[in-house]
């Protein structure tokens, strides 16, 4: 019995000292994947050091800790790297269970993970709308609208957030739709998320952006517009040169 108490004490001390250990986030403005991690950390009130990466000149730190993809975001916890935004969120959820982002019930958790996967599989379409033209862009627009339709019809129901009354991991996964999609629409000159066609999504976007942690941690809309517009011009002109 004494050794069990000792073991439990040792575990709780080491885990709490690990949880207080150095936490760094390698990110890049205005990457929505970077923001996913920022939102999760701030919602749970976890202090961390943010390191801005220049993606045109990736640091040795990033290359060392993300050897497979060489991408942000990377979370460094006591020097150990975790890559891929939604995997980072699952890690954060397990290490810091306060303010849970996933439901407690395993079936509800499976539903949440289903939608997280859906988000990661389908959201790239809106970025193809952003960086392509012609037939490729047309198809991407159809795919984006189809993604929005599925979310509208199947994912939200009558709830305020995907997570229920409070935001959760699925809301964070779909966060790009609340802000970045609007920027893409403005730059490209299309409207894909019509408010009257997607009333639930429209309401969700308003609710999502009113959550204080989200409201206070979104890139400035105009700055994003300028950044992405310029980048799109470079992308399209270089693809024409090929």
């Amino acid at each position: 019995m004494t050794s069990l108490v000792e073991l439990l004490t040792y575990l709780s001390v080491s885990l709490s000292s690990l949880s207080m250990a150095e936490l760094k986030l390698l990110g890049s403005w205005p990457s929505p994947f970077s923001y996913r991690v920022i939102w999760a950390l701030k919602l749970k009130g976890i202090p961390y050091e943010y390191i801005e990466e220049d993606l045109s000149n990736k640091s040795p730190l990033l290359l060392q800790h993300s050897p497979v993809y060489k991408k942000i975001p990377v979370l460094l916890h006591a020097g150990k790297p975790i890559c891929e935004s939604m995997i980072i969120l699952e890690y954060i959820e397990e290490f810091w269970p306060q303010i849970p982002l996933l439901p407690f019930d395993p079936f509800q958790r499976a539903i949440a993970r289903f939608w997280v996967k859906f988000a990661d599989d389908k959201i790239p379409a809106m970025w193809i709308v952003y960086r392509s033209s012609g037939k490729e862009q047309e198809k991407a627009m159809k795919d984006t609208v189809e993604m929005l339709r599925v979310i509208e019809e199947h994912a939200l129901g009558s709830k305020k957030f995907f997570g229920g009354e409070e935001i959760g991991m699925v809301d964070i996964a779909f966060g790009q739709i609340a802000e970045w999609l609007g920027v893409i629409e403005e730059i490209v000159g299309v409207k894909l998320l019509e408010d009257h066609t997607f009333p639930r999504l429209h309401a969700w976007i308003l609710n999502f952006k009113e959550v204080p942690v989200i409201r206070d941690n979104l890139p400035d809309h105009h700055e994003m517009f300028v950044f992405f517009k310029r980048r799109r011009e470079l992308l399209l002109s270089s693809s024409q040169d090929q």
């Binding site: 497979v68 916890h77 150990k80 975790i82 890559c83 891929e84 995997i87 980072i88 699952e90 890690y91 397990e94 290490f95 395993p106 079936f107 958790r109 499976a110 539903i111 993970r113 289903f114 996967k117 859906f118 990661d120 599925v150 199947h154």
Partner: protein, 223 residues
Amino acid sequence: MAEEVLLFGAWGSPFSRRVEMALKLKGIQYKYFEEDITNKSPTLLKYNPIHKKIPVLVHNGKPIAESQVILEYIDETWKGHPIFPKDPYERANARFWAKFIDEKCLPVIHNALWGEEKQHENAVKEACELLKHLEDEIGEKKYFGGEAIGFVDIVANIIGFWLGIFEETSGTKLLTRVEFPKLSNWADVFVSSSGIKENLPPKDKLIAYLRTRFGTRSTDASK
């Protein structure tokens, strides 16, 4: 209520077999329904209206789709023979490699085996670069999960068994023993492991099926 576990799957699908491997490793009784993926049943469409694909696990009337999501659910619900590590960092690592296999490796391997002729050499090179990451990850371990079969091993079933079949039907070899001794060794151990070997589709039947359905060009559209 008595426990009811149903699995809608397809005999040749690695995604379907992943779920069966997990259920069998944990000794969970289930009822299996074979789906004809060219003529999907109304029941399947009811349980997976969004993707309309197998596998779907139905536990006490509640459906779960997407093989990796199903594996996580199984591990959280039935505690025997855990397939995920306990440590959060190791769990993140397992999720990373599982995602790498399905999202990065599979499309590139598909391209290398059945892509356009003129891009063949580059596609093969790209596929081998990805397999090298798995070669490094398995290292000296018996399984990706360590001493016992884990989440990544089950997800890598497609590399361990189906890749060999696809290589035969496409005529391109990627997983060579010379270039990937550790990964090749893992594949041998994996397919002969208890709980796995009983759960693999018959090789000849699968080759014949792929050749009939897709000719000499085949896809992993067995979902």
